[in-house]
Each structure stands twice: as structure tokens, then as C-alpha cells.
């Protein structure tokens, strides 16, 4: 059938087609080494990212650890129905979205700001020292960072509360206060990752042609003008790229972080999908249910990243693919 249709095609077109397949083969052979270099990467992707996905099926089963995936009972969408019917899920989903949006709103611009400001520092030595210092928290685990924050915010011996009291205020129980918990999550997240996040932007700034700056200076642009009209526009494609990537993680509000920071008193405001899955799956051994929650999380993340890419393609004509 396929052959047939090709045979009935106009001759010119047919030749073009043959030419292009030959072209592809030629290109393939001439770039053979590059294709071979791709194999380990593809293998990695396949073995560690695609193969484990078979585990998703337990979201549709009543999974029993002993029977395993092969013999567990098939229950269809029962776990998802249970999920959408539970009150807890909606409060968990709201928390996740809120914390994630706060993080996006408050912590996304910080690395950009840091990069732009660092770029303006003339003294190379000073710049490097600052850069190293603000990278450092990224390498600390959340166990340590949460310990730091708990002691800094302690109502009896913490630095912050001592300051509050020195100025005549009442000490605040930060860690068990529903009012403060989300702010602590956002702040500690920003403190830990801001410096590290700036690396990408610094690299992008380094890629901006110096001649543009020179030309602007000759035209009489000051440093602030250069920042606004050259550095920031030069960064825009990187910013959009990072924003789209970030969108895919909107339902991932920082499980590790919150697991370390929260306690039963702030579950109402701090429990997110990740921590909920952890408590259900590991604490209650409800593997199927927690996989269903996780799968829901991934599907929404996937849709968001596709939508984000599409919107940015339409709006600013920039996209990842």
C-alpha cells in the first residue's frame, strides 16, 4: 500500500524523497561517532527513567508486597476515586499549590537579582569570595539546614526571638505556628538555593557580547541603564527557560525540606503531596494509594510543562522545544 502510493507520486517528488533518505543515511554515517556517543546517555535514560515506570501499575492494583506486581489484585481506578473523595487530599493539594506559588513568586527572582548584582562587582577577588559563600548552603543537606532554622527561630534561645524581645515584642513560636510555617519554608528554601540558582544566570550574562556594553557606554548609558537595557534582555531567554522547567515542578513544593521542618501541629498548612505520599506509603503501608497520588502529581506536572512551553511559544516566541 505504502509502496503503491509512492509509485503513483509525481516523479520530482519521488526523487526528492529518495534524495532525502539518502541524505539522512549520509549524515548518519558521517556523524557516526556522535551517535555512538549518545548510546550511554540513552541507555541511562532508558534504564533509570523509563524502566522503573512499570511500577506505576501498582496505582491500579491493591498492591501486596509479597504477591508483588504480577499477582496483586487489579482494582482499576479505585485508588483514584478514593483520592478524589478524601478531604485530606484537597487540603494537601491546596498546600502544595500555595507553597509552590509562594516559592515561585518570591524565590524565582532572587537568583536573577543576585546574578545581575554580582555582575556589577568590579573587584574579581571580592566577587569570587561572595559567590563561593552564597553557593555553600546548597551543599548542606536539609537535615542540617532545618536544624539551623529550628535553633535560630527557637522561642527561648533563638536569635530572631531575642531580637524581637530586645525591641520589646513578644516571642513567637515560629515552628509550630500555622501563620508562620509557610513563610519559613519559603525563606529557608530561598536561603539555601538562591546562590546556586544564580550560576545559570551568571553563565548567561558572560555570554552577552561585551561590544554591546561598549556601544551603550559610548552612547552615554550609565550602569543602571546598561543593566536594564542590556543585561536583563540578554537574560530573558534563560529566564523563560528556567521558568518553564520550574512549572513542571509546581506540584513538588520541596518534600525533603518540609519533611524535616514540619510537625503534626502544622500539618494543616504544611502537609504537601510529597510528605502525604511518604506518610501514607511508608507509615501506613498503603503503597497503591500513595502511588496513585504520586502519579496524579506527575501527570499534572507533565501537563503544566507542556502548557507552559506552548504559552511561552505563543507569547514571547521562546520555548524549550
Amino acid at each position: 500500500m505504502v509502496n503503491n502510493s509512492i509509485n503513483t507520486m509525481p516523479v520530482k517528488c519521488k526523487r526528492n524523497l529518495r534524495l532525502s533518505t539518502r541524505n539522512i543515511r549520509k549524515k548518519f554515517i558521517s556523524n557516526m561517532d556522535l551517535y555512538f556517543l549518545m548510546i550511554p546517555g540513552l541507555l541511562y535514560l532508558f534504564i533509570f527513567k523509563y524502566l522503573p515506570m512499570y511500577g506505576i501499575v501498582i496505582a491500579f492494583q491493591d498492591f501486596n508486597i509479597i504477591s508483588g506486581i504480577a499477582k496483586s489484585e487489579w482494582v482499576g481506578f479505585a485508588n483514584f476515586i478514593k483520592l478524589f473523595k478524601s478531604d485530606e487530599f484537597y487540603s494537601v493539594l491546596t498546600n502544595t499549590l500555595l507553597i509552590s506559588c509562594y516559592k515561585l513568586l518570591f524565590t524565582f527572582p532572587i537568583p536573577i537579582l543576585i546574578a545581575v548584582i554580582l555582575n556589577e562587582i568590579r573587584n574579581g577577588m571580592y566577587k569570587k569570595v561572595i559567590q563561593t559563600i552564597i553557593y555553600m548552603p546548597h551543599f548542606l543537606s536539609w537535615v542540617i539546614v532545618s536544624g539551623l532554622f529550628v535553633s535560630i527561630l527557637s522561642p527561648t534561645s533563638g536569635l530572631v526571638n531575642m531580637l524581637i524581645k530586645a525591641f520589646g515584642g513578644e516571642s513567637i513560636q515560629f515552628m509550630i505556628s500555622a501563620k508562620w510555617f509557610r513563610s519559613i519554608v519559603v525563606t529557608s528554601g530561598a536561603w539555601k538555593e538562591a546562590g546556586w540558582g544564580a550560576i545559570v544566570y551568571l553563565a548567561a550574562i558572560a555570554g552577552i557580547d561585551q561590544e554591546i556594553y561598549e556601544a551603550a557606554r559610548i552612547d552615554g548609558a550609565g550602569r543602571v541603564k546598561q543593566m536594564i537595557y542590556i543585561t536583563l534582555p540578554g537574560l530573558s531567554s534563560t529566564i523563560v527557560l528556567m521558568l518553564i522547567l520550574r512549572l513542571g515542578h509546581i506540584l513538588d513544593a520541596g518534600t525533603e525540606q518540609i519533611l524535616m521542618l514540619y510537625n503534626p501541629i502544622v500539618y494543616d498548612v504544611g502537609d504537601i503531596i510529597g510528605t502525604y505520599v511518604y506518610r501514607m506509603g511508608i507509615g501506613k503501608m498503603e503503597y497503591s494509594f500513595s502511588t496513585a497520588v504520586g502519579l496524579f502529581n506527575s501527570v499534572v506536572g507533565f501537563l503544566l510543562i507542556i502548557a507552559g512551553n506552548w504559552i511561552s511559544k505563543k507569547m514571547v516566541n521562546k520555548s524549550i522545544w
Binding site: 501486596n64 508486597i65 509479597i66 504477591s67 529550628v150 527557637s154 522561642p155 527561648t156 534561645s157 516571642s171 513560636q173 515552628m175 509550630i176 500555622a178 510537625n263 503534626p264 501541629i265 502544622v266 500539618y267 494543616d268 511508608i282 507509615g283 501506613k284 503501608m285 503503597y287
Partner: protein, 506 residues
């Protein structure tokens, strides 16, 4: 030239890293059997202990005596249940897992799901020593649907029905003397004592002064007895009622919330870890904590280091309304137990090994060591020898896989004397006056129930709810809502099953 040398350097570094990684891999897989006799190396998971189990002297002695090499891993100190769930779910190839009684509900659930080997046949075939020294009634505790899924270790009780508790509230004795008050008798006097500890600030801790640092606000030992709910299940009108459903428990929570509001219990209890609680007491910041007899020595030493001339005194439980008073018992009479997961590669060898450990001389060697080296016998009493006993046998109870039910309570005399202060505290909690405070736990001898699997979740719910009430994040008016959820999560079925058992076995 410079570039070249840098390249060489980086290659050398990478080579070194690769070597380290390879050697790391090798270590794990190198030994699979004992070279001398070909017996397989067994993999065991035990409870948290402070020393490295693999280099512990008692383990070396066992290795020589039985010919089996055993590699030990430990559960973490925080949330051991979660780690245990992960291990079972991922089919890690442990040959035996030794758990304490608090993980019994987990074990029952694993057994019901078919994750564990039933042991009856192997006990009959390879368990000669086992059958001799472990009582049938002890094995009954390890039965689920009439099959044995574990080897019981009853601990000091040794199958005798002796009621006991292991923790009491302890107060800084030197502060009590400074305050010049006697032991509080009533709940009111108890509250007053806390108020004095707060107001007088004997330790000059200012902001960090803590009258009472609770380990679990959901059940502060002694205090909860003053409200008539010392055990998780208490008899009300001939039937058993869980604390969660008992209005007296709500009264208790209101009282603790009141203490919290007045700053009489640690403001930061919600974020405390087990180690922080002890640290707050031993650093001289807290005046009161609940103290187990086996922690007395380490707590006293740590406190004396930070605060010379300090002392610790136990408090009798205060009397509440209508003369309610008492301390509840441990949840069941098991101390710990051993089971074999289906993922084990050498289940039969493991059973043979466990049986070898219960041979009388071997068991004594593990429990208290050698006569003359680790202990002596004076007037029929087993006395530990300082310091070999402490250095080489202090933690050997972590390695017990079953016990000689007759002999262990006798050996226990030496074990509990591993420190005179521990022995004294142990005897103090069992003297005539203290024995009156024991409130028998009505389900202490209950077998594993179908609905036991809900217990962990239910307890977690209750403790979360209690915390919220205490700090004022929830109000008591939400109790009905909580109770409804608690019943739905399995509380109702559990209550029914517990009472069915109780009616027959009371």
C-alpha cells in the same frame, strides 16, 4: 607543559576515586560464608544501640561458640517502624530481624501479608534447645492463625505474670530542696510544684527554664493516671474503652493544655527529638522529665557533669479527682522477638543458629558472660564484675533471639546490676509502696488481633490530635470530628475485637 601536568593530575584523581568505589563494592560482597566451616554468613537487623554491634565483644564470643558469622545492621533511633516497613517492602535479604515489643503490630501485619516464614516445622525439626527453654505460653504470643511466626524473648518477666512499669516522673532533687516543698500528693500540689520551678528558676536559666520536658504529651507518665486513663485500654463498666474515646482523656488534655499555656511544660516539645529531651534535662534547663530505670545512670552522669551537686528524685504519681492515681503497664509482656522474612537466603541455617544460641551454656555466655570474668555468684545472687561486664555485656540483650524462660530472670539480677544506680532504681519501682501504683494493662496478655494493623495509625492520630489541643492549634470542640475519623480508621473494629477477646479471657 602546565596543562599536561594538570591533565595527569586530574586523571590520577579520577583513578583514585574509581579505586575507592571498587573497593567499596568489594567489601560488601566479599564474605558469604565462614572460611573455617563453610557455614553461611547471616545478615541480621537489630534495634538501635549506641555501640557498633559488629565489633561488640559478646558478638565475637557468639561467633566462636556457634561457628556462624553474623553481620548486623541497626534500625534508626527515630521512627524505626518506617525504616522497617521500607526494608520489608524492598525485600532486603535479612536472615533475621530482632524487634522490640513496640513493633509487634508491624510484625503481625507482615505475617498476615505472608512476608514471614512460619516456623512451626523448623522448630519441631531443628529447635531442640528452643523447645526445652521457651515455654509454650511464650510461643503462643507469636502465633497468628495458629502458626508461629517468631521467637519470643520475654525479658526479665520470663513468662511470669509480674506487673511492672519502667518509667516514672523524675525531678531535680536539689531544686526540690531549694523549694522546700515535700513530694506533691495531689494534682493541685503537682501543678504548684511546676509553678514554683518556673517562678523560682533555680537553675538561673531565664528564658530557657523549663519546669517539665515531656517525652510524649499524649501520655505523661503518672500525670495521665490522675485522670483515670493510665493504660491505652481501660476498663469502664466491665468493657474496655480506648483512651481516645474516653472523656476523661479529654480532661487530661485540657489540663496539659493549661500547663502549656502557663509555660509549665516545654514550649518547644513539638519539635523535640528523643535526644533533645534528655539533653534539656541533663544540661540543667529542665526540672522534670519522665525517666526509665535503665536510663538513670547515663542521665545522672550527664547531669552531674553539667551541674555538680545535682540530684534526681522520682515523684510518686499525683492523685487526681475521685482519688484516681496510678501508672500504666507496658503494652505487652514481650521484651523483643525475632522473625525470619521470606527474603532470607538461609532460613534453615538461621533457625539452626538461633537454636544453637539457646543451648544453655551459649545462652548464659551471651546473657551474662563467663563466671569469674564477667560475673560472680554470691549467696545464689549473680553479681556483675566491674568493668568487664559493663564493657562486654551491657548491650547483649540486643542480640537475644529467644531466651531461657526459667533462667533469664535469674541472670537478669546481674544484668540489672550492671550499674548500682540502675539496680536501685529498678528495685525502687518494685518496692512495696511503688507496687501499689501499678494499674494492670488489661490487654497485656492478648494475642495478635486482626485489627492490630490499625494501631500505629490510630496512635499517630491520637498523638497528633493531642499535640494540637495542647498548643491550642485545635480546640476541644473538634473532638467529635476527631473521634468520628478515629473510629472510621479502624478504631471501631479494633474496640470490638479487643472486647470480644476480653469477655472470654478476662
Amino acid at each position: 607543559m602546565r596543562k599536561l601536568s594538570r591533565n595527569i593530575l586530574s586523571m590520577a584523581v579520577m583513578f583514585a576515586i574509581a579505586l575507592v568505589m571498587l573497593s567499596g563494592c568489594g567489601k560488601n560482597t566479599a564474605v558469604t560464608s565462614n572460611e573455617k566451616n563453610g557455614k553461611p554468613v547471616l545478615k541480621a537487623l537489630i534495634n538501635y544501640m549506641r555501640e557498633d554491634p559488629n565489633t561488640y565483644p559478646a558478638v565475637k564470643d557468639l561467633e566462636e561458640k556457634t561457628g556462624y558469622i553474623v553481620r548486623y545492621d541497626m534500625l534508626p533511633q527515630d521512627n524505626p517502624e518506617e525504616k522497617l516497613n521500607l526494608i520489608i517492602a524492598s525485600n532486603e535479604d535479612y536472615d533475621m530481624i530482632i524487634c522490640t515489643n513496640s513493633q509487634k503490630a508491624r510484625w503481625a501485619e507482615y505475617a498476615r501479608q505472608g512476608a514471614l516464614f512460619p516456623l512451626d516445622e523448623w522448630i519441631a525439626q531443628y529447635g531442640e534447645n528452643m523447645r526445652n527453654v521457651i515455654k509454650g505460653s511464650s510461643f503462643d504470643l507469636m502465633k497468628i492463625d495458629d502458626k508461629i511466626y517468631g521467637i519470643p524473648t520475654l525479658g526479665a518477666a520470663g513468662g511470669n505474670d509480674v506487673g511492672s512499669f519502667s518509667s516514672m516522673l523524675a525531678v531535680r532533687g536539689d531544686w526540690m530542696d531549694l523549694a522546700g516543698t515535700a513530694q506533691p500528693q495531689t494534682l493541685e500540689e503537682f501543678t504548684n510544684l511546676l509553678q514554683i520551678l518556673k517562678d523560682k528558676d533555680f537553675g538561673s536559666n531565664k528564658e530557657s527554664n523549663i519546669p517539665l520536658v515531656p517525652s510524649n504529651v499524649a501520655e505523661i507518665v503518672g500525670v495521665i493516671g490522675a485522670f483515670g486513663v493510665p493504660n491505652a485500654w481501660n476498663e469502664v463498666d466491665g468493657a474496655l474503652l480506648n483512651r481516645a474515646e474516653d472523656l476523661r482523656y479529654v480532661e487530661y488534655l485540657k489540663y496539659i493544655a493549661h500547663l502549656y499555656e502557663k509555660g509549665l511544660i516545654d514550649r518547644e516539645f513539638a519539635t523535640n527529638k528523643p535526644a533533645t529531651i534528655k539533653e534539656k534535662f541533663t544540661s540543667g534547663k529542665a526540672g522534670m522529665m519522665s525517666l526509665a530505670y535503665y536510663d538513670v545512670a547515663s542521665i545522672t552522669d550527664a547531669l552531674a557533669k553539667n551541674v555538680p551537686n545535682s540530684s534526681i528524685r522520682f515523684l510518686n504519681p499525683p492523685i487526681g479527682k475521685d482519688g484516681m492515681r496510678g501508672i500504666g503497664e507496658s503494652p505487652n509482656i514481650l521484651d523483643r522477638f525475632t522473625f525470619i522474612p521470606k527474603s532470607s537466603k538461609n532460613p534453615v541455617e538461621t533457625m539452626k543458629y538461633i537454636d544453637l544460641k539457646l543451648e544453655q551454656d551459649t545462652f548464659r555466655l551471651l546473657a551474662i558472660g563467663e563466671e569469674g570474668k564477667h560475673y560472680t555468684i554470691e549467696d545464689g545472687q549473680y553479681i556483675p564484675i566491674d568493668p568487664t561486664f559493663y564493657d562486654e555485656r551491657s548491650y547483649s540483650n540486643n542480640f537475644l533471639t529467644g531466651q531461657d524462660d526459667e533462667m533469664y530472670p535469674i541472670y537478669w539480677q546481674a544484668r540489672v546490676r550492671k550499674d548500682q544506680r540502675i539496680y536501685d532504681a529498678f528495685m525502687y519501682m518494685r518496692d512495696d509502696e511503688r507496687s501499689k501504683f501499678i494499674v494492670t494493662n488489661p490487654i497485656r496478655n492478648a494475642p495478635s488481633l486482626q485489627n492490630e494493623k490499625h494501631i500505629q495509625v490510630l496512635n499517630q492520630m491520637l498523638s497528633d490530635f493531642s499535640m494540637k489541643i495542647v498548643v491550642g492549634a485545635s480546640s476541644v470542640s473538634e473532638y467529635d470530628n476527631f473521634l468520628k475519623k478515629w473510629r472510621e480508621e479502624g478504631g471501631e473494629e479494633l474496640t470490638k475485637e479487643v472486647n470480644e477477646w476480653y469477655r472470654i479471657n478476662k
